[in-house]
Amino acid sequence: MTARIYKNKKAVPFFLIPAFLFMFVYLYYPFVQNIINSFMHIKYIGTSGGELNTPVLKNYITMIQDPKMLIALKNTGIMIIATIIGQVGLALLFALLVSNIKKGSGFFRTVFFFPIVISATALGLLFNLIFLYDKGMINQILQFVGYLDISTNELIDWKAEHAMFTMMTPVIWQYVGFYFVILLTGLAGIPQELYEAAFIDGGTKWQTVKYITLPLLKNSIATCVVLAVTGALKVFDLPWTMFVNGMSDTWLTGTYMYSKVYSDADYASAIAVVIVVLGVVLSVVVNRIFRQDADYDAS
């Protein structure tokens, strides 16, 4: 009976067609339409583009000369590096540590994963209060420990003086748990026999991590890095909640695109196209880097 149902393929389209239609209507069609929109002149978002821009590549030419877009690209580049080091790096460290403890691993899994379930907007408001100028948590602590002069009410304007740090900290903090879970799952797939053999051969902890864990975890790390890079390219909600309108030159490609949606829809479409292109290119680059490593290791 089981074999027969797998051989009979007649039911397959019933499952695939609705899902395909859903993907077509809500992903592929808007995606293609967005590319077309990036060449059109659209007066209001939601209205169809009446005519092509003059010149057709107007939005892309503007983008090259747009200082805010350059700031957004630079900041996004910084965000990508920060997410790779801060999110994937920390997640890897936490995963290695948690996989090496016998008691309390469940507790740490929950603690590290918890920020993921909180909405980005709520986190943004939370960190707004933490970094608040007057009566903010960090400034109060710094005054309490004497780093800031409480008699003159000396305060740090985190959103002006350390804007990128203030923006990236919650973003990194929120997603560490996500990559932590992926890497922990990858670690669970490594056969224990390899560690036992290394232990018998006198291998140290660091040597087992370097020569067993990291090479066998490479695919999981590559997945995490690709997700981190593409995620950094489109990150929007948390930075927008904390730094509305690119306050203190904190534009990211995602936030800059959104800021243009209601005032210049076709330009926003062009930015969205650039985000997708960058995402694809960087994903390919990351995959190439990890594949090169594989060839090197194999040799």
Binding site: F14, A19, Y133, K159, N245
Partner: protein, 445 residues
């Protein structure tokens, strides 16, 4: 069995999609205009049991936030209808939300919104109903208002909205801070130069002279700063170029704001603070002056313990602008959206709601010290006014000239080079004249 289950599941999946589509069609299907025509005998008294979506700016620290809640409750009790309210404080975020709602087809049935260029988009797209069209079915609609003061749309000169209360903008003063710093409260005779000296003294005394978030709400200072280089007759005119007389006035005004920033008269975090943060400086006796609208009177009253410590006065003027030449007018009103009006179940309720909220009694309660479009004029009950309310009444009666806010002639996109990038202007990375040119470039697109 498994095959049957598989077929059943796939069938359900397909049906659910069809179901979603059918549901959407049902909810978005617009009743034909015949429905409205059929309701020829309709009065604005609804049958009850109808729920309408309403969005206004009567929220947060708005003076009339509580009055609005009371009026909505009274209308609900009187008609048996319900209001799903999504009112919010008026700022650029609110305006973006409204635009998004309209574009996404989730606009409210009734909207209290700006009747200037901010609503051009809805007018041009036919998403709001004109007063004349409503009067075809409901002849008494807005009949208690002066038609020429309703606030015709700049898009086509047609009336779409019915105003409630007008507004004025003035400078609220924390008297305790002034006293502690050893300065007098500015008056109608205080010049701009004297005001700068007052600010310097307040700053030296360890207080913030001016509570203002340039990041979030630079609007009021922009308005008065450029007004100071114009007069009441010329203020409500857009420049034709950054080089003409008005364009130069705008650039000079922006440079005055830059001067305030460089002199340290604004909060240290003015480029990152929210309006709520700077307002808190003012109400907690850390800042002396706050330029805001007449709607802020109630916000201050509810935020402070001793309202006697607060008053409102004229923004010191320079050049041709007397300090008593102010910003004010009727810039907002109730719109009935096409979505709400063409819904046969909601039409009468929407009309009834607007008629109730713009009746002589309700408008008189909301108006306070501001102007109205009522034929009979507003009759505010001054017996319950606080010291600040009385000061506001006196202030509103001392204008020698009044001009609408010129920024209302610009849409959100055109305002962005100034209001969205004030930090760059005051820090000098963007020249004020270039910002004005950019505004005009977008406005003329």
């Amino acid at each position: 069995m498994k095959k049957a289950t598989a077929l059943l599941l796939s069938g359900m999946m397909a049906l659910s999609m069809v179901g979603c589509g059918a549901s959407d069609t049902a909810t978005t299907e617009e009743p034909t205009t015949d429905t409205a025509a059929e309701a020829e005998d309709t009065t604005s008294a609804p049958e009850g049991g109808v729920t309408i979506q309403v969005t206004t700016t009567y929220a947060g620290e708005d003076t009339n936030a509580q009055n609005y809640k009371d009026a909505v409750a009274a209308w609900e009790a009187e008609t048996g209808n319900k209001v799903e309210d999504s009112s919010a404080t008026s700022d650029e975020t609110f305006k973006s939300r409204i635009v998004t709602d309209f574009e996404a087809g989730s606009e409210p049935d009734v909207l209290f919104y700006f009747n200037g260029v901010d609503s051009n988009q809805f007018v041009e797209q036919g998403k709001v109903v004109s007063v004349d069209e409503i009067r075809e079915t409901y002849p008494d609609y807005a009949s208690n208002m002066k038609d020429d003061l309703l606030g015709a749309s700049p898009a086509d000169g047609v009336n779409y909205s019915v105003p409630v209360n007008g507004y004025w903008e003035g400078m609220f003063v924390n008297k305790e801070v002034c006293e502690a710093a050893g300065v007098e409260v500015p008056t109608a005779d205080t010049t701009w130069e004297e005001f700068m000296d007052i600010c310097a003294t307040i700053k030296d005394a360890g207080y913030t002279p001016i509570a203002c978030s340039l990041q979030e709400v630079p609007h009021y200072w922009f308005e008065y700063a450029i007004y100071n280089h114009q007069d009441a007759k010329t203020h409500n005119t857009l420049p034709t170029s950054a080089d003409d007389e008005i364009g130069q006035a705008w650039a000079a005004g922006l440079n005055d704001i830059k001067g305030l920033y460089e002199d340290g008269f604004l909060p240290e975090n003015t480029l990152t603070a929210t309006d709520a943060e700077t307002f808190q400086l003012f109400t907690e006796d850390k800042a002396a002056f706050l330029i805001d609208g007449s709607w802020k009177v109630g916000g201050i009253e509810s935020a402070v313990d001793d309202i006697e410590n607060f008053t409102v006065t004229h923004v010191p003027g320079m050049g041709n602008r007397k300090s008593t030449d102010e910003i004010g007018g009727l810039s907002m009103g109730y719109f009935i959206t096409r979505k709400g009006y063409d819904d046969a179940d909601k039409q009468a309720a929407c009309v009834s709601f607007v008629e109730y909220m713009t009746s002589d009694e309700v408008v008189s309660k909301f108006a306070g010290t501001s102007v109205t479009a009522l034929k009979n004029g507003a009759k505010p009950d001054t017996s319950s006014f606080t010291a600040l309310g009385n000061a506001a009444l006196e202030y509103a009666g001392s204008f020698t000239g009044i001009s609408p806010a010129v920024q209302d002639n610009l849409n959100e996109a055109a305002r962005a080079p100034i209001f969205g990038d004030m930090a760059s202007i005051v820090k000098g990375s963007v020249d004020a004249a270039d910002a004005v040119a950019e505004v005009l470039s977008i406005a003329n697109e």
